[in-house]
Structure formats: C-alpha cells, structure tokens
Amino acid sequence: MTTKTDGGDAQRRALLVATRKGAWIFHDEGAGQGWRADGPHFLGHVISHLVLDPRDRRTLLAAARTGHLGPTVFRSTDWGKTWQEAERPPAFRPEPGAAGRAVDHVFWLTPAHAAEPDVWYAGTSPQGLFRSEDGGRQWAPFSSINDDPDFRRWMGTVQDGTPDGPKLHSIIIDPRDPGHLYCAMSGGGVHESRDGGASFSPLLDGLDVVEGFDRSDPTFHDPHCIRLCPGNPDRLYQQNHCGIYRLDRPSNRWQHIGASMPAEVGDVGFPMVVHPRDDRTAWVFPMDASSVWPRTSPDGRPAVYRTRDAGDRWQRLDGGLPTEQAWWTVKRQAMCADDRDPVGLVFGTTSGELWASGDEGDSWTCIARHLPEIYAVEFARRDDGVD
C-alpha cells in the first residue's frame, strides 16, 4: 500500500540502518505511532553504510559485500524498492606483483558538497579514497592518497588495522568550500586537503598516541570518528583511540577534551556525534578500554555522555538504558543526530538493538531489537510519500 503524506515533519523522517547481515529502513510514522521497519534489504550481505543523498533526498547508496563475494555499491532512487549495482565499484589501480591492494569492503560513503550534485566520496578497507561523479554508478580512485608512498607507509598493513580491516573514514566536506576536505584513517591519522583533494596533509598536532610511539608519525595515530559542526564549520570533534578531542580552526592543534570524563569510564569509544546547530554540544558513547580492551560498555552499564560546553564537562545520560549486565557497545558509524529541535538521537548496538532519544539524550527508548550487529545508522529526510 502506498500512502502519500502531507509532508509532515515526523512522517518524512527515516532511519537508515546498516548491519552485518543486511540493511533496514525505519520510517518514523509520526504522532506517537513509532517506527515502521522496512527490511531486510540485502539479507545476508555485509552492509557497512547506507546513506541518503541530502541534495535530492531520493538517492540511496549502500556499501555492500558478502562473505564470499567482492565489494560493491548498490544504488536506489525509490527508497529500496529496487536496487542497481554500481557499474564500476571502487577498486584500486592495478599494480604489478603481489603487493597490489584490493578493496575488501567499502566502509564509508559521503555525499559531496551541495554545489557538486551527483558527486560522492567513498572510503574503503584497506584505506583508499574514491570518488563518483555520477551518483554512485562509476567510481574511480581519487587524489594521490591511494598511491602516495608516504600515505602507503602510514596506512601500514592489514595487521596494523582494526580487526575487520584498516579503514579510511570520516570523509568531511567543508560546507563553505567544496575544495576543503578532511579524512581519517584507522590507522594512519587525520588529513586535510585545501585543493579539492589533489593532496592531503597530516593534521595531528595535539593528538596522543599509544605510549612509547612517535606522535609525529601518522602511522601510529588511530582516529575513530571525526565530525564537523554544521553550526560552525571551523569546529571539529574527534573520538580517537587515545581520547576525545576538539579542533577550532584556523588552529592546527587538537585539544584533549576527554580528560574531564569520569576516570572509571574513560574517554575511549567509537562514535562522535555533534549538534546540528550548537557547536558546544556533542555526544560520545564510551567503551571499556582497560587491560585487554573488552570494547564493551564500562561495567556492563551503557551510557551516552554529553557536553554542553565544548568538552569542559561531560554529563552521563543513561535514562531508560539497561542498568546492569549489558555488554554491548556502539560502533563508529552507529550513532547519529537528526536536525530537529530538540535534537533526536539514535544509536545501534553490536547486539542488534536500536535506541532512540527525542530529548537530546536525556532519556532513551529501545525501538528495535534482535537485528544483526549494527554497523551504521543515519537519519534521513524524504520529500516524497511514504510507502
């Protein structure tokens, strides 16, 4: 059944959920009716990211692979009724010899600047940066990063990356300038381009590395997630392997703002979420990074932490969340904010639960459970009717 809506605010909100076993689209039914699940799409496929193009509000791209098959990108312009595979998925240039790299999976998708319709960027594992200029149909290696000897050294090998492969992520476009880009590599550090991506330079001042290693070498830096504040594009927040940081341009020096987190919780986690308008408000989801790095909620008691003053102080927000024996965590793409006032938040867990807040994190409600491990969540707004 297809129902055309009157374009009401809540009815046009959707939540795009990427999981280890497929993708789901949750439609906000509005007026307290909750969320309607549409899925699974691509059951059994590993979906790393599902993103709507905010410029046309109809083009969806899904980064997909399966356990057996190579990576690809799927595209839909009818909200997942039909999907078309990219004609040329992201792939590295051929290299002679055994050292040639192959894309294992597309990890991150970013629509480009509003002035560049149909342009998208993709970050891959192993670390690579790719660009499409036709809405995700054809992809090509982008910038010098993929082949530059310094970057290749900083990327390290598969053994230097996260357990399911080293990644290029957090591709950020300055909303004031399509030629001003950021990206990050786990591992390999944070990098900035001011020439439209032709070249990138490390942006590492102030960031810590694991004790005993050289902090001037990008190899040893592990940014987990970076976000630019829509309300102030000169401010970025970063959740790093070594803590929470803030950068205020034009300074090149990151400030460690996680030191005021409770010592028993620490300031290590994966996601970083920023407020759509207030550059002093941000959210993190800490994980246990003690001893062998369990990467679970500290003490089995999950909580979001929020700052209202750009990181001077952090407030624990666990209203409605389990109070004990909850050993999941939230991955770097699996927490997001919408553009409403008050801001709505959602996070997805490694145990397949979706938790939502309509009051900027003060209280939480579980809106779905028993999904596969959740890799990414993104809010989206649609212009057309709701099916």
């Binding site: 399966t66 356990g67 057996h68 998925p89 040639g100």
Partner: protein, 86 residues
C-alpha cells in the same frame, strides 16, 4: 561450455544455476560471463586479477590456481563459494 554458478551469484544470472560461456583461459571465460552478466566478474576476481579468497573454480576435477589457467578442451567449469564464516 557449461558453467556452474554458485547461489551467491545467481542474482546476476536470473537465478540460472548453469549458464553457457567460452574462453581459452579462465580470464576469457570470466570476461564473457561479465559481458552477459555485468558486474559478476568483480565479485569473483579483484582488481589485481586474483581470485577472491572465498571463491573456488574447478575444471576437470582440479582447482584452477589463477585466472591465467587454460581451459582448452573443457566442457564444464564449476564456480563454487568456499566457507567464509558465520
């Protein structure tokens, strides 16, 4: 020759288990398959021309080690998906 398509790739072949394609080498066979079923080759072979980790190709009871393997005289090629975890 006849080519066995594993279930994970039948979305490309219209759900057909067996298809027809020819080539003197596996590379040529896969190129012809990709001509008929766009995108199918890259799911099996990476950009460095390596057969992907969980794909196996057999001809005359033997596993083919690379896309350069010859297929002269073969009348059947089996493409299978190997174990890839839970």
């Amino acid at each position: 020759m006849r080519v066995l398509i594993p279930s994970a790739l039948r979305s490309y072949t219209g759900d057909r288990t067996w298809v027809e394609a020819d080539g003197a080498t596996l590379a040529e066979l896969l190129s012809e398959l990709d001509h008929h079923y766009p995108g199918i080759r890259f799911r099996m072979v990476d950009e460095q021309q390596r057969i992907r980790r969980h794909i196996r190709v057999f001809c005359r009871g033997r596993q083919l080690p690379s896309v350069d393997a010859g297929l002269e005289g073969a009348d059947e090629v089996l493409i299978v998906q190997a174990l890839s975890g839970g």
